[in-house]
């Protein structure tokens, strides 16, 4: 199936699973997406391979960062009518707390949707949404 067709069928069914599976890196992270009405949550299930510092142990900053970026991309693919993958223009990550060896969740806020650029804020959390472990702030280029 072509990617554009896959997008259409995923949006129609509300199950983004096949879309996640079509993207190798998202598959590598074993990402899950949970959609309840208007609420979008991206989930990074804990795996030992995600550890950066085995002594603490703590999630790798690169794993958290990659997860935030994926969450933003999937949010846009779900929310928008784009036919292609949005392109990341820039990505700013604030690391607020140590990522514990447990599942991580991400929620996305569309700060501004322009004609060509979407500005997103992405919050990653573990124990509770009001204790974020990392914040992502980014611009994505949408297809023209």
């Amino acid at each position: 199936m072509k990617f554009a067709d896959l997008l259409i069928s995923c949006r129609a069914s509300g199950d983004l699973g096949p879309m996640v599976q079509s993207i190798p890196y998202a598959n590598f992270l074993d990402l899950r997406i949970d959609i309840k009405g208007d609420e979008f949550t991206c989930i990074l299930p804990f795996e030992k391979k995600l550890i950066g510092n085995p002594v603490l142990p703590a999630l790798h900053g690169g794993a958290t960062g990659g997860f935030l970026e994926c969450a933003g991309l999937f949010y846009l693919l779900w929310k928008m009518d784009t036919k292609t993958l949005p392109k990341t223009i820039d990505f700013n990550i604030d690391y607020l707390r140590t990522g514990q060896p447990r599942d991580t969740f991400a929620n996305v806020v569309m700060v501004k949707l322009g004609r060509r650029v979407a500005n997103l804020r992405i919050e990653a959390w573990q124990s509770s949404p009001d204790k974020p472990i990392a914040l992502g702030h980014c611009n994505f280029m949408l297809d023209a």
Binding site: F3, P24, Y25, G61, G62, E69, F91, I93, Y95
Partner: protein, 157 residues
């Protein structure tokens, strides 16, 4: 005949086992490429399972993030007299162009300012030359209390 290694490669070789202690670095295959105090380079080989866009086969931005985060950490380690535990405070990445499929990506970094609490780092991801970057990045790291991954006695000189 044994391959001759430049002093930078030889030094990078000694850092190799330290890159290995991080499971995520190991999983992505991040390895030291050349290590100098003013330009510390890690490498990630192209792998199909790290692709972000199946149509273009371009590596996912998350791979670049991990590569630069790891290179940033290394560039701080080579500047400080002994290992100290630290945490990434923030990281900003600008994506200038897509990585070319099938090509390894290098991540180079320099720690340009150290304070007792913080390390300021900049760098970029590229194929052949840092003058033609795939992504540029800046980051700030904070020294923390807690244990280090690497014992100071093992630190390569």
């Amino acid at each position: 005949m044994a391959e001759t290694m430049s002093p930078e490669e030889e030094f990078a070789q000694r850092w190799r086992k330290f890159a290995d202690v991080s499971p995520y670095n190991r999983e992505l295959g991040l390895l030291p490429h050349s290590v100098r105090p003013d330009w510390c380079v890690l490498k990630v080989d192209y792998k199909d399972d790290l692709v972000g866009d199946p149509n273009t086969r371009v590596l996912h931005g998350g791979v670049i993030t991990a590569l630069l985060d790891a290179a940033f950490g290394f560039s701080i380690f080579v500047k400080i007299p002994q290992f100290r535990p630290m945490a990434t405070l923030d990281l900003r990445i600008d994506y200038l162009r897509p990585a070319t499929p099938d090509k390894a990506v290098l991540g180079g970094a320099v720690c340009y300012k150290l304070t007792p609490d913080l390390a300021f780092v900049r760098g970029c991801a590229y194929h052949e030359s840092p003058d033609d970057p795939i992504a540029t990045a800046v980051g700030i790291y904070m020294f923390t209390s807690g244990s280090t991954v690497i014992q100071n006695e093992e630190r390569p000189r």
